[in-house]
């Protein structure tokens, strides 16, 4: 919970990780390239005083995670969104057993989402059923640019993905977090294209699709499909740290998202440990869209409360303390975004 100027905010960090990017876990050069890329993201967008040293960044463990999120970071609940990356790391990048143990040891604080890869075919589908039971899965994280042998990506519209998503519907895994990456087969296509999200969102109305880093680097394409599909949501990972380095750009991103997607379908996340939640929460609560940007409506306190936690709490059925709910309706509404209305009318 974060409190400022008499307002209290329930905070859900909807995208966190417990990774191991150490040299001892790297399978090849790509394991090093991947964690180095993350570290550059971290260094580039974090305020100087919260930049970690490289070794701590490659592996930080559960104790530090608990402190950064729940002691220092105002987080009430956090959701693991693990990336597998089995072609880069011996024991995978996201540490399943460690994260699951931490989740069990801290009841009510953590949700463990797992991942699947449709290229694993029937065996992977059977595994998904076992994972759903073991972890009580409510959500999965899909990284479409995952390398696997000769293949460097898949689409949500691939036939096997459909079978996995059908299983998700059946198993109550309702929250599908999509992370687009730089590779896809064939390479003729734009790997970041979110058109396949549009297709599956239409075909799986019972599932929520949370597009991580709000479609960046294809913000515009994401905004458009989100107006067309009521079950498409925006995750703020990667976008929100711009609040420090490029606040005007962040104002534009959040302004666009509020216009096209709406305040009920945007979720806060630090993408821990890419960034840490403390400074992001503080700056977001203080943030306002500059008055000179008359094309955007102001970012209201109600919108901030929804984005920082209430939206994700609703999606994951979290028990928000009475005093932290919205005073007017007691729950998140379903206001249709201005841009979505306009796109339907035209």
């Amino acid at each position: 919970m974060y409190e400022k100027n008499g307002e209290k905010y329930y905070v859900v960090d909807a995208h966190v990780a417990l990774w191991d990017g150490r040299e001892s876990n790297q399978k090849n050069i790509h394991g090093k390239q991947f964690i180095d890329c993350f570290y550059d993201y971290h260094k580039n967008l974090s305020p100087e005083e919260v930049v970690w040293d490289y070794d701590a960044y490659t592996y930080y463990g559960g104790e530090r995670l608990m402190k950064d999120l729940f002691v220092d970071g105002y987080v009430d609940h956090a959701i693991f969104q693990p990336a597998f990356l089995g072609d880069f790391y011996e024991n995978g990048f996201g540490q399943t057993e460690e994260a699951w143990a931490l989740t069990q040891a801290n009841p009510g604080k953590l949700t463990y989402n797992h991942n699947f890869d449709p290229r694993n075919g029937q065996a992977g589908l059977d595994q998904l059923r076992r994972d759903a039971e073991r972890f009580g899965l409510k959500g999965v994280k899909l990284y479409t640019a995952e390398w696997r042998g000769d293949s460097r990506g898949y689409k949500l519209t691939d036939p096997w993905t459909y079978r996995y998503l059908e299983a998700c519907e059946e198993l109550g895994i309702t929250n599908i977090h999509i992370h687009k990456g730089p590779t896809i087969i064939p390479l003729d296509r734009d790997a970041f294209d979110v058109a396949d999200v549009d297709a599956v969102a239409t075909d799986f109305q019972g599932l929520n699709f949370v597009v991580e880093h709000c479609g960046l680097p294809r913000l515009e394409d994401f905004c458009w499909i989100a107006t067309q599909e009521t079950n498409v949501h925006a995750g703020l990972a990667v976008a929100i740290p711009f609040i420090h380095t490029r606040p005007r750009y962040f104002a534009q991103i959040i302004g666009e998202l509020l216009y096209w997607v709406g305040e009920d379908k945007i979720q806060f996340s630090s993408d821990y440990a890419l960034w840490t939640p403390k400074w992001l929460v503080e700056k977001f609560v203080d943030f306002q869209i500059p008055e000179a940007m008359t094309e955007y409506a102001p970012l209201t306190t109600t919108a901030k409360k929804k984005i920082l936690g209430l939206n994700a709490a609703k999606m994951y059925g979290l028990d928000v303390p009475e005093e932290l709910r919205l005073a007017d309706t007691g729950e998140v509404g379903l206001e249709v975004a201005a841009g979505a209305k306009e796109s339907v009318l035209s």
């Binding site: 890329c37 296509r189 734009d190 960046l216 515009e220 905004c223 035209s346």
Partner: protein, 262 residues
């Protein structure tokens, strides 16, 4: 951020005539690289700091390119390397042209493919289906949309156009200057007309947008512009973090000339 502007040729050749030739070739090489754009960001690779070094040597020209991360999309990376090679081969006196991509997850594959003139299909093998033409066109269209939006917003801000008249705004109505020139270049890229009477607000095929759709189209065009500009901010920042400890002023191109001048 400041990238390469003025090539500095070193070491100094022995006589003035060859000094001029050296500087001139270096200038021509940089000029050629300036025509190569990052297709996603719609900016020259020279402005973005992607040209790490240019070496003029006895057997030709070697250029090293670099990108903001090891995991920049390989298809776009390939396009920039391939475009750079094509541009440099058109430079008179460049002799043998070698373009190398540094520090990328597909550096070996792309560099081998480019060196062998293997083309896109030959470079990526089973991962490539037909060509990157459609990918390039998609981003040329986005670049056009963003350039169109800048012109329209400038016209509205200056009072040269009113919102209700945008449907009939023509190229001839736009004030001259870099914003208009940028639009004309991007129209040419995707085969749209350049006549003063041609409409400004058009779809990707050059067709007029119905009045009732104008506000939505422009709103979407704004999103496209913001997206491209934002990505460029991010890429510049990451490149500076990766190669200059965050100091974007220190992102420069290293230019050397080791050709014999005697």
């Amino acid at each position: 951020m400041s990238a390469v502007a003025t090539p500095v040729v070193s070491p100094a050749p022995r006589d003035r005539a060859s000094a001029r030739r050296g500087a001139s070739l270096a200038n021509d090489v940089i000029e050629a690289l300036t025509t190569v754009k990052d297709p996603e960001l719609d900016e020259p690779i020279t402005e973005l700091g992607f040209v790490r070094s240019v070496a003029l040597h006895p057997s030709g020209v070697t250029v090293h390119l670099r990108l903001p991360t090891s995991f920049c999309a390989p298809n776009f990376a390939y396009l920039m390397v391939s475009d750079a090679q094509d541009a440099l081969r058109r430079v008179p006196g460049a002799a043998r042209v070698t373009v190398l991509l540094d520090d990328h997850h597909d550096s070996d594959k792309i560099n081998a493919g480019i060196a062998a003139d293997a083309g896109y299909l030959g470079t990526f093998g089973a991962e490539a289906a037909e060509s990157l033409d459609a990918l390039r066109l998609t981003f040329q269209r986005k670049a056009h949309t963003a350039a169109m939006e800048r012109c329209v917003m400038a016209a509205l801000t200056s009072g040269a156009a009113r919102l209700e008249d945008l449907g009939s705004l023509t190229l001839g109505d736009l004030a001259g200057g870099p914003t208009k020139e940028a639009l004309l270049r991007r129209r040419a890229d995707i085969g749209l007309g350049l006549a003063p009477g041609d409409l400004v607000v058009v779809d990707e095929h050059g067709d007029a947008v119905p009045d009732e759709e104008l506000p939505l189209r422009l709103r979407l065009a704004t999103s496209v512009r913001i997206s491209i500009e934002g990505n460029a901010h991010f890429c510049r920042g990451l490149l500076a973090t990766r190669y200059a400890n965050g100091d974007s002023d220190a992102i420069t191109t290293d230019i050397t000339d080791t050709r014999s001048t005697s």
